[in-house]
């Protein structure tokens, strides 16, 4: 299957490519490659244009390689390996110049990651009508891991491979389900929802930029067939997530909005907490913290300025600040406990954000605070 492209020979082919480039006979090729890479520093990033230039360069180099004495009598396979080596070399060199190189791309990346982090707090397989037989945590985890690796690679081919590996895991899950459990194979009807769910669970960093990068810089002759199919599935997963609203899911609209609102507030409090490192003390009330997606907080940073202080260092003037911090901390703690309880409780016990609280004390308390926030 697509696994052809993950044959172990790749590493070999890359070193083989470097070896040939070290051969004095390839000096002309080395010059072309170097001057092409340098030429990129003359222009401001322009993804469409850059992609076109790189693709044209691949084709020109392929022709040069075919006619080159070092490759005389080389098989199609060898030439292909050399081209893989070339792609990896060129794109690794140009990576920082071409990956997520516009503010627009970074913005889209951030927006997607943020939306996914909201969805993660409540999305369940049934919201996408994923059949119970396909709910296989072990498989999903494996698929998530593959997707999560994508951002770590610099070569377009290796990034694409992560997508393909992720999709193959899902593929196998679907095929196994159809064999062992007599589940009628439903093809893409089953495949896409699982991929979407796995993507949301994985929240792969810089999803949009990774997809753009592959599309623009993977050799076009290689982004075809099965590879193109899986790539398209992840691209449509991205589109689905960007456009996702209550009606995209099997979920009550009010419940969806409530969940999103809760998650937003939780994110907000984490951000505020994060910003407190500037030393700014806030009087604002704290929204509940879900405890998810903590961005890391300072232990002894300016948000908790007394952490490294001895009792003998304190003055009467510190009391006001200490009391403020103490209250802040207690509020935060109770909010955190409350919202943790809500998130883990059943849907019927969800917080009523608009203050029409009915049930226990804790939700009422929290919602009052949410209203103020």
């Amino acid at each position: 299957m697509a696994a052809t492209s993950c044959s172990p020979s790749t590493a070999v082919s890359f070193y083989d490519f470097l070896d040939r480039m070290r051969n004095p006979a390839s000096i002309d090729l080395v010059r072309s490659i170097k001057s092409f890479i340098v030429s990129f520093s003359f222009y401001a990033p322009n993804p469409e244009n850059d992609g076109k230039r790189v693709q044209e360069f691949y084709l020109a180099m392929e022709n040069s390689i075919r006619d080159h004495q070092l490759w005389s009598g080389a098989s199609e396979e060898e030439i292909d390996y050399s081209m893989e080596g070339l792609e990896k070399y060129v794109m690794t060199k140009l990576f920082s110049r071409t990956f997520a190189c516009t503010a627009e791309d970074s913005k889209i990346d951030r927006e997607i990651a943020e939306k996914i982090s909201l969805l993660q707090t409540f999305l369940k397989p049934e919201h996408l009508d994923i059949p119970a037989i396909l709910r296989n945590e072990a498989s999903w985890l494996l698929a998530e891991k593959e997707l999560g690796k994508m951002n770590a690679y610099k070569a377009p081919r290796e990034k694409l491979l992560c997508i393909i590996n992720c999709c193959q895991v899902i593929n196998n899950l679907l095929l196994n389900a159809s064999i062992s459990d007599n589940h009628t194979i439903a093809g893409a009807d089953d495949f896409l929802p699982v991929l979407i769910y796995v993507t949301i669970k994985a929240n792969p960093p810089q999803l949009h930029s990774n997809l753009m990068f592959i599309q623009l810089y993977r050799r076009q002759a290689k982004l075809i067939s099965e590879e193109a199919y899986y790539f398209t599935n992840l691209a449509s997963t991205k589109t689905f997530i960007i456009d996702l609203h209550a009606k995209s899911l099997s979920i009550d609209e009010i419940e969806f909005e409530k969940n999103m609102q809760m998650a937003r507030l939780a994110n907000k409090v984490i951000d505020e907490d994060y910003n407190m490192r500037d030393g700014m003390m806030r009087q604002k009330v704290i929204a509940p913290d879900t405890g998810m997606n903590l961005k890391g907080r300072s232990k002894s940073g300016s948000s908790y300025p007394f952490m490294d202080v001895e009792a003998s260092d304190l003055t009467v003037g510190d009391v006001e600040m200490l009391l403020k911090l103490y209250k802040d901390m207690v509020n935060k703690y109770t909010d955190m406990c409350a919202s943790y309880r809500h998130l883990s409780s059943s849907k019927s016990e969800l917080v009523h954000l608009k203050g029409n609280n009915t049930s226990s004390n804790q939700p009422a308390e929290t919602s009052a605070r949410l209203d103020r926030a």
């Binding site: 299957m1 084709l59 009508d129 593929n171 093809g187 075809i224």
Partner: protein, 201 residues
């Protein structure tokens, strides 16, 4: 699974494919590579049709790829040409309808499937036909397939209705049964015959 996709063919086609990657594959006049997209409501049996087709070919030399949603199969025609179908399945649920253009872009063939026991799925098929006429490539070979033809007693869409609609829209029409394998091979053979051939250069 252990099925591996054919690669020699891919490699030969690679260079040409790069030049016209927006066009559906295809290469020399003898060996065509064709992107085929499957559209239709969920539950009409899109994937069963292709599985029947792909698994039903017993030519030991043919290379197949069987995934859950992507399949490829090469068939040999009488004029000694071969056609490699790369079959792209799409999710049929309503919530994914807006994503379809990403899949049918650059496809040479669109197979729109409905279930003869569900007039609702026939309505959905007509929606896809209109969508393809508006946004698909004008040279796309379009086919209308009424599946589950073995369930005669539950039929809701008559053969005449299917045929008439297909004729009006310049499509090839066939009723199939993925269950009994009826007309499955015919479907793909007919599509292969209708493909525009590249003029030998």
């Amino acid at each position: 699974m252990g099925c591996s996709s054919s690669l020699p063919a891919d490699r030969n086609s690679g260079r040409l494919g790069a030049l016209n990657s927006e066009v559906s594959g295809s290469n020399d006049a003898k060996n065509l590579r064709v992107k085929l997209v499957l559209l239709g409501d969920s539950g009409v049996g899109k994937s069963c049709i292709v599985l029947r087709f792909v698994r039903g070919q017993f030519d030991p030399t043919s290379k197949v790829t069987i995934g859950a949603s992507f399949l490829s199969q090469t068939i040999a025609l009488q004029d000694s040409t071969t056609v490699k179908f790369e079959i792209w399945d799409t999710a049929g649920q309503e919530r994914y309808a807006a994503l379809a253009p990403l899949y049918y872009r650059g496809a040479a063939v669109a197979v729109v499937v409905y279930d003869i026991t569900s007039s609702e799925s026939f309505d959905k098929a007509q929606y896809w036909v209109k969508e393809l006429q508006k946004h698909g490539s004008p040279n796309m070979v379009m086919t209308l397939v009424g599946n589950k033809a073995d369930l005669l007693e539950k039929r809701e869409v008559s053969v005449e209705d299917g045929m008439e609609y297909a004729e009006k829209n310049g499509m090839f029409f066939i009723e199939t049964s993925a269950k009994t394998a009826d007309n499955i091979n015919q479907l793909f053979e007919e599509i292969a015959k209708r493909l525009p051939r590249p003029t030998p250069s």
